[in-house]
């Protein structure tokens, strides 16, 4: 969101799912949508079945890559090298959309100069992807009538995740593949309300509706509505919170529906810090590992089926969730818990129903102003921005960039010079394998929600490795192996996957109770977004019986 907001001023994907169906070139970059966002991928496949070309950029020949017209298997963490090479090829082939660049962007000359060293040859050398494949993708993307560039955590879960996003934004504005129907940038969100959380101000520097907390005018509106003084400084994001815990500056934490004791990179350290807190309160529907560390546990409700409200999806569509079940036992609606808590803290937050809370938001957040519950009901969901009660905006953002009138065009989209910066943890003789992590279709995050049903395809945690590495290590399919990084070690069965190349191994983190993969991952984080580099750790794999020496 930081990257998109920097370039376009709005922290959301620029396109709608239906627009993928209108694209003639689709690039999935660091996204295994076939597994992680299957229904979005349906829209992609609709386009593919109508003849659209699909390019997949991913170190692994993933389930998504199996559908690709061409898979570009770059080395982990060389995304910027690849995007800069693509940019140079586009520029040199005369495929830059100069009229768009001149009208709607800034910083082109510096950007063009910065990518100049990235010849196809150098790109191939750094990324491992043959020059011919890079050239084909560059030309296809630039020449497309409408191209979609989609990404997920393969782009963002790096120490330089924001730069990765910026490098993709560069490609879109270089070619004018944004702000038109079918052309755009689509980051796919991992949870059903990541987008909505941000929309509602659950970001350390934002108020609801992406209004800056440091903006006096915006804050004044909230002060008036709420009758309090909203703090005027940015807060901490998650990584900064852990740093503050380490410093002793943060002593009490209220965790709602998160499981950091299992989901944080370098999870050992995270658990220690949570344990050392003065006071930890956890609101969850399960007694998670984090909840086990808590002083107080508040049993909440499953928001998607035991409560009323809204969520916002990856295409900025606000949709209603509705109560279908009563929560079990003493569990309560999260809102009731929060209201009660406020009362105990001396504030009477009174709302007659969930809709009243929503209407407060509509008064404060202009982009939600036109979304009454009645309208959400009738239309089955509305995409933001929706400032008007009776009109809908186009399904894509930033059409303004194509406007002839400079006033209408508004702030131009800046190119950003981005520098290739390999993963923090280099491979070494001691840890010679690159571990990257990801998701499987039938499981979800730390498995709290997906553990409840019996999927016939569930593999449990495995260490996936190439046939070549398996052979070299003398490891058989299904054999238990030890995986170690500088931070810890785990044991898991090996699974031979020809979609991996020698030197690259893969694990999920769906089964932390059995195999705590985040003991291996590195907590190097992006300074701007606070996202950890889950996608690149250095590890060693050994048979349990014989310890092989790294070669």
């Amino acid at each position: 969101m930081v990257g998109l907001a920097t370039v376009f001023g709005a922290g959301g994907g620029t396109s709608s799912y239906q627009e993928a169906e209108a694209a003639d070139v689709i690039v999935m970059w660091g996204s295994n949508a076939r597994n992680a966002h299957p229904i979005f991928f349906h829209h992609v496949l609709t386009a593919v079945n109508q003849g659209a070309k699909l390019y997949v950029v991913d170190p692994r020949r993933s389930e998504t890559a199996q559908f690709a017209d061409r898979w570009l298997g770059l080395h982990v963490g060389t995304d910027i090298a690849l995007s800069n090479t693509i940019a140079r090829e586009i520029i040199h082939a005369g495929l830059t959309n100069m009229s768009f660049v001149e009208r709607a962007t800034t910083g082109y000359d510096e950007y063009a100069a910065s990518v100049e060293p990235w010849t196809l040859e150098r790109g191939e050398q750094v990324t491992g992807v043959p020059a011919d494949a890079i050239r084909e993708l560059a030309h296809a993307y630039a020449r497309a009538e409408a191209a979609q560039l989609c990404w997920t955590l393969g782009i963002t879960e790096h120490h330089n995740g924001v730069d990765n996003v910026l490098s993709l934004c560069n490609l879109a504005i270089l070619t004018g593949q944004v702000g038109r129907y079918g052309a755009g940038l689509t980051p796919l969100r991992g949870q059903n309300n990541v987008q909505g959380g941000g929309d509602m101000g659950a970001l350390p520097n934002k108020l609801p509706g992406f209004q800056d907390i440091v903006d006096d005018q915006a804050r004044a509106k909230f002060d008036a509505e709420w009758g309090v003084t909203v703090p005027s400084e940015d807060g901490w994001h998650l990584t900064q919170m852990f740093e503050a815990m380490e410093r002793g500056d943060l002593r009490s934490v209220f965790v709602i529906g998160e499981n950091p004791a299992q989901s944080e990179a370098d999870v050992h350290r995270a658990v220690e810090l949570l344990r050392d807190l003065d006071h930890l309160v956890v609101l969850d529907i399960y007694l998670t590992k984090t909840a086990e560390l808590a002083d107080v546990v508040l049993p909440g409700s499953a928001s998607w089926c035991e409560s009323d409200g809204t969520v916002t999806n990856s295409e900025r569509r606000v949709q209603r969730v509705r109560k279908a079940l009563d929560p079990p036992g003493d569990a309560r609606d999260d809102i009731d818990i929060l209201l009660d808590l406020a009362r105990h803290l001396g504030h009477d937050w009174h709302y007659d129903d969930h809709e009243e809370i929503w209407d407060e938001l509509r008064r404060l957040s202009p982009m939600h102003a036109g979304m009454s519950w009645a309208r959400l009901e009738t239309l089955g969901g509305i995409q933001w921005p929706c400032p008007s009660d009776d009109q809908l905006e186009p399904p894509y953002l930033h059409g303004r960039l194509w406007a002839d009138d400079p006033d209408q065009l508004g702030r131009r989209a800046p190119f950003t010079v981005v520098v290739d910066d390999p993963p923090v943890e280099a491979l070494s003789d001691h840890y010679p394998l690159r571990l990257t992590t990801g998701r499987r279709l039938d499981s979800y995050n730390t498995g709290v929600q997906s553990g409840g049903y019996r999927s016939p395809n569930r593999l449990g945690e495995t260490l996936d490795l190439s046939p070549e590495d398996a052979h070299r290590l003398g490891v058989a399919d299904g054999e238990q192996v030890r995986i170690s990084s500088a931070r810890g070690q785990v044991v898991a069965p090996a699974r031979i996957d020809p979609g991996l190349r020698p030197g690259l191994v893969f694990m999920t983190f769906h089964f932390p109770d059995e195999v705590d993969v985040n003991q291996l991952t590195i907590d190097a984080t992006d300074p701007k977004a606070g996202t950890a580099e889950f996608k690149a750790a250095a590890v060693r794999v050994e048979r349990l019986t014989h310890v092989s020496t790294p070669t």
């Binding site: 003849g51 559908f67 017209d69 061409r70 898979w71 570009l72 298997g73 491992g128 992807v129 020698p502």
Partner: protein, 573 residues
Amino acid sequence: MDLKTRGEPPSADELAAVDAVLGAAPDRDLHDVTGGHSLRNRRHLLLPALHAVNDRVGWISQRAIDYIAERLDASPAEIYGVASFYALFSLTERPAHQVHVCVDLACRANGGPAEGDLPAGAHASPCLGACERAPAAFVIDAGATPSQAVAGHVTAVQVRQWSDGDGPDPEAAPAAAVPQAGDRSLVLLARVGRGDPLDLDGYIADGGFRALAKARELGPVGVIAAVDASGLTGRGGAAFPTGRKWEAVRSQPATPHYLVCNADESEPGTFKDRVLIENDPYALIEAMTIAALATDCAYGYIYLRGEYPRAFATLLHALTTSRDRGLLGGETGFDIAVVKGAGAYICGEETAIFNSIEGYRGEPRNKPPFPFEVGLFGQPTVVNNVETLINIPSIVLDGRPANRRLFCLSGAVKVPGVYETELGLTLGELIELAGGLRDGSELQAVLLGGAAGGFAGPADLDLVLDQDSTRAAGLTLGSGVVMVHDQSVDLIDQLTRIAAFFRDESCGQCVPCRVGTVRQEEAIERLAAGASTGDLDLLRDIGQAMKDASICGLGQTAHNAIETAIVRLGVFS
């Protein structure tokens, strides 16, 4: 796609067979893999790949399916669905030596076996298209150099011997199926017996490719005008005006256009297409080249039924020599491929043929859209039967009227075979042309137009064999079948077989045909056993529903012959 195979590599034979069709698999690349459309666009190679494995190994194993799946980016379930559609493919292990014995109408009328009479190891086959030498059999030996042979006048002893491993002697020369061979008045069969069918020089010396030269002078519009003027109508059964069909395709803006020659001759009692191809293959190539010129097609397919090994070899030879001579392919801007069917009557239906060529189950498509708009690979397509096309060169060259037809005479006539006549002959005259009834035979019935046609009786000998007269009589010329049954033939047995044939050959897509053909067979069997007479009403109900509500001509005609036998001949009464 999410391919999930069993991970078992194909055997050396399976690998060689598939790679011979698809080329060797690329090595695994660690950074760059091309897939998607470029693999799926080769789906039309599925049927050839399945043939290759079946021919080489004798059956198609799961691991062979898995390997083909990986190569074509098609799922194993889809490939299984396609392979299981065709009777000539086996999905369970079986010996390399296979004997298919015809149990169909002409053969069983000529003393051939019924399904239950076959020795172990022999398969019951629908009509093999060798009715002039009924009863017939088809013997296959799978292997690196597979052999396939059709045999006629087969005895029960031979069937037993072949089932134990032997094979038949080579076939008689192709001209043997044309009793009129050498008759100078022939037009469609003019070249039969006049020279070596495989000799391109001989064909050219005999006036070959002159019609094509004339067609080039006339241009597409001129050719179509000539075809229109001749009054030529489709000889596959539907009798649609050929010129109109061509014009419809020619004027379609979408490109490319495709030409399909329907040589999936599977109507019981029909064998003229085989005889034409075996005796005059270059004429078909010339005719298709003219058709392509007229309809702006860059590519043509000949869809040949799988049980015609000699016709297949003949075509391959003719195509190769034509290409070598610069008459086809390359700069001519037109080329032809032969696609072999694999034992499915329905693939002769003009849209099922598209699905089969494209590598899908040979199920008919819904019409509209019609093939001239949306046909093979979704493109404008002209589909013509072999006999229709064979009419073309002489029409273009001489401007003659299309007043000649081929008939497939079989059964109780003295000289069965393919006959060419001018339209206007009566049924009796045609039988006389074939030498009349065999000595001692008395006419009981004549099946006109095949299993999808109808029965005429002794009272119909004066019936004029043209479109209008037969239609007026509630009959059809269909594909030109004239199967003559004498008193020795058990008509109820014939009806039972017709019912079984349609039940076997229904593709299963639509309810009226899938279930209707079964209910029809059950009713016939009850009637044959002398049970309830209510079954005649039931049959009528079933027949009407199949005729009105089936997707394609198979279901729509599956009751015709039975209906005519009951109504015209009084069978079961």
